[in-house]
């Protein structure tokens, strides 16, 4: 599984959405991605990539696209 597939799978699992909803998806843009969903998503991503996200990154993680940027920049995950 590629990193992008793992990343997408984390969203699909944690937020219970379909993959076609991912492009352009923003925090609080759908009911499931509230603060509770956000922490579930973070936990799923941490497990998927075996990382521990810093609090500042959890706060900055404001969209599907921004998340990729953060994982690339701070955790050396290539997409």
């Amino acid at each position: 599984m590629t990193n992008l597939e793992k990343y997408n799978q984390a969203f699909v699992e944690a937020l219970e959405i379909s993959e076609d909803q991912l492009p352009g998806l923003e925090y609080q843009g759908i009911e499931q991605w509230d603060s509770v969903g956000h922490m579930g998503l973070v936990a799923t991503l941490e497990d998927a990539f075996d990382i521990m996200m810093d609090t500042d990154d959890i706060i900055d993680f404001s969209s599907y696209e921004k998340g990729k940027e953060i994982l690339s920049k701070s955790y050396e995950i290539e997409f």
Partner: protein
Amino acid sequence: MSMDEVIEMLLKGKTAVVTGCSRGIGKAILERMAANGADVFAVVRRESPEFAEHCASLSTEHGVEIQTVYADFESEDEVTAAAKSILKTKRQIDILVNNIGIAFPQRMLAMTPMGAVKESFQVNVFSGLLFTQLISKSMMRVKQGSIVFLSSSAAFDGGSNIEYSAGKAAVLGVTRRLAVELGAFGIRVNAVAPGLTDTDMGRMTSEEVKTIALSRNIMKRLGQPEEIADAVVFLGSDLSRFMTGQVLRVDGGLL
């Protein structure tokens, strides 16, 4: 099975994190957690052969695992590093006890340096919050856990100096707010508010304050650390599974 055996197994299979457990109430909490079957991450300020020996002895006696973690709670970097070292073990944390605290001698606000107020809040409030922010992630994953904060009767009656009374009152606000926030994750958050207790910190209290405190105490005595620890064990255990956002006052009945 006797009631004693049932009580001894309250925390069997659970993993707890206890801060500030090298002496006083924290040490009693560590001992009661171990006696009740919990594996413990014991977070203390500095390494000492006596404490290491004590942990080894508890571990052998009760068949539990005790891992020591070192952090000075005046330093946010050390608090973060301690929490991350615990999370890196990938052990599911069932119970977090935020016990660590410092106290300064009794004095009026007019004679209190602001640096002391900030230092007190850093250890008694902010570092506990930061540590909880990080450790609670382990609980959020599995949607269960129990967090216990140590407040104080001083939060209710102003029975200590300004920084301690105010800081311990802040802990109550933290407890209630976190109970609301973390309830969605099945995590309970409660506090224990001890009265004057027979510890090194309790003995720092002036005779005048002690006399006043005991005159208002129905049981007319200091609390013992184990009596506070038992309340913490109760809140950490499933016996309190329908309690959250609450403060247990363990103070001999202060009026």
